[in-house]
Symmetry: C2
Subunit: 273 residues, 2 copies
């Protein structure tokens, strides 16, 4: 049975309820092993204060969400490059295992997917130079193909690993069961990724029906994903990190009492992961 010390709470799970300070305190109180902040909450609290509070609470940081959005301005502007460098530095400051990337979708008005993907790879390469210099790992999160247009044009684990192959050491993948569960070749790609390139493992569940493409993700056990199968696969490949719980749920979990959500997370990880 997976105890709470093996769980990391992604702050998106309590986006509407708790500040980062409250998340840190809550994780510690519930005996969680780690936390994974989003940058908006991190900035709100202040990077230094957050780093100190996380350290004092004895929490690991399974990842910082997120770098990326390389396509936001249609080309790789200095602003985009600089923002990603800052994200790397913030990940270092809070002692994150990795900086997780949501790479960005098609630029506004574009239908040119190959161009968007080339731009993303270029942005990752430039961020990687800095990340290597400061010792931070970069984790591409392949996003479900339904986000290809508007959030991330890296949509399969194979595609992400192809990029990693080309860019070399220091870059790998963050695998979220929500994005990868459907993939008929996920097992083979997890083997291919290997220990060094599986940098994070995120869980939630796929609800049937899914009523909203972004904010209707399920609590583990409420959907159809065979989470233990995927967890065993990443662990068989050598992944030994925390199980990070990230649930976007506007109509359900974001409306509940935060401590109830945290207790439910612990219970469901134990029973369904």
């Amino acid at each position: 049975m997976i105890g709470p010390d093996r769980i990391s709470l992604n702050t998106a799970t309590l986006r509407q309820q708790w500040s980062l300070a409250e998340c840190i305190e809550g994780c510690a109180r519930h005996g969680f092993g780690g936390i994974a902040p989003w940058r908006d909450k991190l900035h709100e609290m202040g990077v230094d204060a957050a780093a100190r509070a996380i350290r004092e609470a004895g929490l690991a940081v399974s990842g910082l969400c997120r770098g990326g959005w390389f396509t936001a301005e249609g080309s790789l502007t200095q602003a985009v490059i600089d923002d990603n460098r800052r994200a790397v530095d913030e990940a270092v400051a809070i002692g994150a295992e990795c900086l997780v990337f949501v790479v960005g979708g098609l630029p506004n008005g574009s239908r040119d997917m190959p161009a968007a993907r080339a731009l993303v790879e270029d942005g990752l390469a430039r961020t990687l130079d800095h990340a290597r210099a400061v010792g931070m790992k970069l984790a591409i999160e392949p996003l479900h193909p339904m986000y290809a247009a508007d959030r991330a044009c890296v949509n399969t684990t194979r595609q992400a690993l192809d990029i990693c192959d080309r860019l070399g050491p220091g870059i790998g993948v963050a695998l979220d069961v929500y994005h990868i569960w459907w993939d008929p070749e996920i097992e083979a790609q997890i083997v291919r990724a290997g220990k060094d390139r599986i940098m994070a493992f995120h869980v939630c569940d796929w609800l049937v029906p899914t009523k909203d493409m972004l904010t209707d993700r399920g609590m583990m056990g409420d959907g159809v994903i065979d989470i233990p199968h995927l967890r065993h696969a990443v662990e068989a490949s050598g992944f030994g990190g925390l199980i990070e719980v990230e649930i976007f749920s506007a109509d359900n979990w974001w409306k509940r009492d935060a401590d109830e959500v945290v207790r439910t997370v612990a219970d469901r990880v134990a029973r369904f992961c």
Copy 2:
């Protein structure tokens, strides 16, 4: 420029407005080259009457939608096998180029994707025996991964072609831009498929944002899919069939005057396909 004689109207595009008889008459009146009926509308009209009307209107039939749903009852029951045999026979009766398959998702209550996929392949194999005997081609339609749970667990062109490789001649793919546009390896898979296995080519568009996962598909030109790129790819592989227009659009095109929709389809295929 692609004229209306190169277009086939999938009856789902006018699901709320026209019966199959009206679709046949409308296609002929607007100079369309073909039609692709769904089975519910076909049964409503009667297979023999429909076959006769389509022939008399001089329309080709780019496909019959749909066989499949092999997972509907959790195992390959005789009812499921028989329904697929009937679908093959109906496709023969109306002179369809192929029978298009929506293979089915996870059985109710199941999280076992490999089992669902094995069941689907078994069902396709058994249907193929009959199809070969009566000379009907089977076209697996890989559905967008967001339908993996509840509609079709064949979700990439690679996966569909792997099945085709194993099952041999007489089975191929129906490629709908809506389902495949995001795929980073679609060009290579289209080459791999080749002339004999690309049995249908469907168009619509991916809207940003997409408000409903099933019924918010766009008219060509209103979304982000580079349709000409995909059409050129299938044609370079030898596909010479009609361009089939299939748009599920509950809040927009299903509410408009049918002739306006048909005129818009002709205009948009000419300008955006």
